[in-house]
């Protein structure tokens, strides 16, 4: 089981709800992934519009926990207000805190992130910060009240997979007791298996599933890869070595000449 702010979940896949070809495919992909946590957002509702309500009812029917995000916010104050509005709508203290700092890479503004995390933690929120793989920023987020860290492994939606494996390994070593969730940059099930083998506790996916040729099948593929990577890590992986080591014992080998 994975414990996130005193809540236990069995699935180690958190799934985003954006960019699917249709609401039906989103619902089927969510079920195939066996996720217990779906991320959602808030946007301006047009006058008389009921789109948000219809979407919310569909998500509620899936029966998972909801992790609202502050996507699109560029300042701490915007993110704090969005988080408070999300709490009003979704009735949860959980918030995936995003404060974007760079328009091309969608890299988090880690300074504003720490500031917003401190304000929201003091206000009773349980913050899931979208951060970089920087250890010092991680320390500051924990000081600010975060008890989960969600580092990127590559830019959002890039699908290029882990770009700095030593940094991810350092994070795992440096924060042994903090749940670490890779958020952003994964493209393939093998990428997810790799970060789980590094000892990460979970992954958060959206584009890699939603934009796949068959999102439902891809959701299932990721679920298997994540479970395999996690089991592999727990089973104790061998350290690679340069030279061959015979797997068959040589003692007692027959001598024919």
């Amino acid at each position: 089981m994975l414990e996130l702010y005193e809540t236990n979940v069995s699935s180690r896949l958190l799934l985003g709800t954006a960019r699917y070809p249709s609401p039906t495919i989103l619902a089927d992909a969510a079920r195939a992934s066996k996720t217990e946590i779906l991320t959602v957002s808030l946007r301006r509702e047009t006058a008389g519009g009921k789109q948000g309500g219809a979407f919310f009812e569909m998500i509620r029917d899936l029966g998972t926990r909801i992790l609202p995000n502050t996507a699109g916010c560029h300042t701490a104050s915007e993110a704090v207000l969005t988080a408070r509005m999300a709490r009003e709508v979704f009735g949860t203290n959980w918030i995936k805190l995003e404060v974007i700092g760079h328009q091309d890479t969608l890299q988090p503004d880690v300074f504003a992130l720490v500031e917003a995390a401190r304000i929201l933690s003091a206000d009773g929120f349980e913050v899931f910060p979208y951060t970089t793989d920087d250890l010092v920023v991680g320390e500051r987020l924990i000081e600010a009240g975060c008890r989960v860290l969600m580092p990127w492994c590559a830019p959002i939606g890039s699908a290029i997979g882990p770009q700095n494996i030593p940094a991810l390994r350092s994070m795992r070593a440096h924060f042994p007791d903090i749940p670490l969730i890779v958020d952003a940059g994964l493209g393939r099930p093998s990428h997810a298996a790799l970060v789980m083998e590094l000892g990460f506790d979970a992954v958060l996916l959206n584009t890699a599933v939603a934009n796949a040729g068959d999102p439902v099948r891809m959701a299932g593929a990721f679920a298997k890869a994540i479970e395999a990577g996690h089991s592999g890590y727990q089973a104790g992986l061998l350290e690679p070595r340069d030279m061959a080591v015979p797997s068959t014992p040589v003692i007692g080998k027959a001598v024919f000449s």
Binding site: T17, M85, E88
Partner: protein
């Protein structure tokens, strides 16, 4: 009274935030509201009096990653 609702100018006679939502045909318990950058909770909308040039944000759930 001139109000800015979700970035658009409106000329509306509503005195309170609850009246504004009603006059623009917003309904449902999935809406979140803010005025001039401060959240206005659901239970406070009836009593929240609007002023000329107030900036009102009305948000609802949508897909997100």
């Amino acid at each position: 009274m001139k109000l800015i609702v979700n970035g658009e100018d409106h000329d509306i006679a509503s005195q309170t935030l609850a009246e504004l939502l009603l006059s623009l045909d917003y309904e449902g318990d999935w809406l979140a509201t803010a005025v001039n950058g401060e959240i206005v909770h659901r239970d406070d909308r009836d009593a929240f009096v609007l002023n000329d040039r107030d900036r009102i944000e009305i948000l609802s759930p949508m897909q997100g990653g």
